[in-house]
């Protein structure tokens, strides 16, 4: 059941991002729900598991888009690895951990997207419009992260996302 939910989460996130959130965007910016779930997973699991799951979620997003397949998979995988590396030192009961995690993950993911794009394709140019998107997305991600973190924390401690043996 846990695995099914973990597979459904990024699928649902892409669906919501492409419909409801994109129709009601803030200044043309939509939240990255996939990244939010990936960050939470990395916070509650190890860096290796987190990066593996993030790679899968990013790949799903890339396959849906049909362009630059591997870009989101790689950037999200690397982001989750870093988030997962620091997760052992934080108290996950505190909601600010989730919020701060999402904020850091948004910045890291954007940075990786830039770096990979510039290194591999030389197509993305950093301009003010892009920086605005990142700032708005960080704010939007934090807003959606608050209720989602509460749900994720409860689910992973005593709900459907609890790992076997806990």
């Amino acid at each position: 059941m846990r695995i099914l939910v973990l597979i459904l989460l990024p699928w649902l996130a892409i669906f919501l991002q492409s419909t409801i959130f994109s129709f009601y965007n803030i200044k043309g910016t939509t939240p990255d729900l996939v990244l939010v779930f990936v960050t939470f997973f990395a916070l509650f699991n190890t860096a290796k598991k987190g990066s593996g799951y993030a790679f899968f979620c990013g790949l799903l997003e890339d396959l849906y888009m049909g362009r630059f397949i591997g870009l989101n998979a790689l950037s999200k995988g690397l982001t989750a690895y870093i988030v997962g590396k620091v997760q052992g030192n934080v108290f996950k009961e505190n909601i600010f951990v989730g919020v701060l995690g999402v904020l850091v993950a948004t910045a890291l993911n954007s940075l990786f997207l830039f770096l990979i794009s510039i290194m591999v394709f030389d197509v993305f140019h950093i301009d003010t419009g892009m920086l605005h998107h990142i700032l708005y997305q960080a704010v939007y991600n934090i807003i959606v992260a608050i209720p989602l973190y509460i749900w994720y924390y409860n689910s992973s401690s005593k709900g459907v996302l609890r790992t076997r043996g806990e």
């Binding site: 419909t19 790679f55 888009m65 049909g66 362009r67 630059f68």
Partner: protein
């Protein structure tokens, strides 16, 4: 350091990065067809996305019922006035059309290319799930005859072109996407051949490669030139909002407000029957 090389995870990570970069490169350029897996993933979303879209349209209809009556009356008056103005304009344009046909016949010219469009109406069902790409998903796909590279327009003007197609849906890359470029001219003077490129922002386009001597100014309407094989000529792209000269002084750059309001886009038309203008190929050679 050597410990790192002994780690299996390190080698696995390296392998994944190398394979990802190879796949990224292979899928960066325009592809003829998307893979079976991509089609399946995309088509799993179509029924739900269509459902949400029709619910949203119905919801807008319901909220209109509760709108302010006086506001609705004002809107009706405005639309009636616009309708009268457009009817008059249409009458005079019909005259021009007839005249144009007569003159073309006399000069043995082909009919206007615009007359040859086969339009397939489609609904927008989803937008790009992330902020890096400017694209939309429509509810028409291979089954309805949509193919890669077909231009997409709306009553306002040029929307973009079909980037990839699955059985029941197609992804349309908007002209505002960073990777899009359209050959364009100024409608009034028809002298300047420039390239309109997307900036990743739905409210702004940029026209580049405009020679320094070109008479381009604020308010000029920009249309497709037909020089890029994908887009037919004469389709409205937008209006010039600002003209600046590049630091080298040889070229000008114009900022363009798109003719289409991409945030309010609901219905589009795929040009399924467009064929490049006869003689275009000869010109290219």
């Amino acid at each position: 350091m050597f410990k790192l090389f002994k780690s299996k995870f390190f080698w696995l990570l390296l392998l994944v990065i190398v394979i990802s970069i190879m796949v990224m490169n292979a899928t960066a350029a325009e592809r003829g067809n998307i893979t079976f897996l991509e089609k399946v993933i995309r088509d799993t979303y179509v029924p739900l996305q269509s459902g949400v879209n029709s619910f949203r349209n119905n919801w807008d209809g319901w909220t209109a019922v509760f709108s302010d009556k006086s506001q609705l009356q004002k809107q009706i008056k405005l639309l009636e006035a616009e309708n009268s103005r457009l009817t008059m304009e249409n009458q005079s344009l019909q005259e021009y059309k007839q005249e144009s046909f007569r003159l073309r016949k006399m000069l043995n010219f082909d009919n206007s290319n615009r007359e040859k469009f086969d339009l397939l109406p489609a609904h927008l069902i989803a937008r790009s799930p992330n902020n890096w790409y400017e694209c939309i998903t429509i509810d028409r796909g291979l089954r309805q005859g949509v193919q890669n590279g077909m231009p997409v327009i709306s009553p306002g003007g040029l929307v973009g072109c079909v980037g990839s197609v699955s059985e029941n849906s197609a992804q349309v890359n908007l002209i505002t996407d960073r990777e899009m470029a359209v050959g364009a001219i100024i409608q009034k003077t028809r002298e300047t051949n420039g390239i309109v490129e997307g900036l990743g922002d739905s409210n702004e386009l940029r026209m580049i490669n405009i020679p320094y001597y070109s008479k381009i100014s604020e308010g000029d309407r920009i249309i497709s030139s037909g020089l890029s094989a994908t887009y037919p000529p004469g389709i409205n792209i937008g209006t010039v909002t600002e003209v600046t000269r590049e630091p080298n002084g040889l070229l000008q750059v114009a900022m363009i407000k798109p003719a289409v309001d991409f945030n309010k886009l609901e219905e589009v038309f795929v040009i399924t029957g467009y064929h490049p203008v006869e003689g275009f190929e000869v010109e290219e050679e």
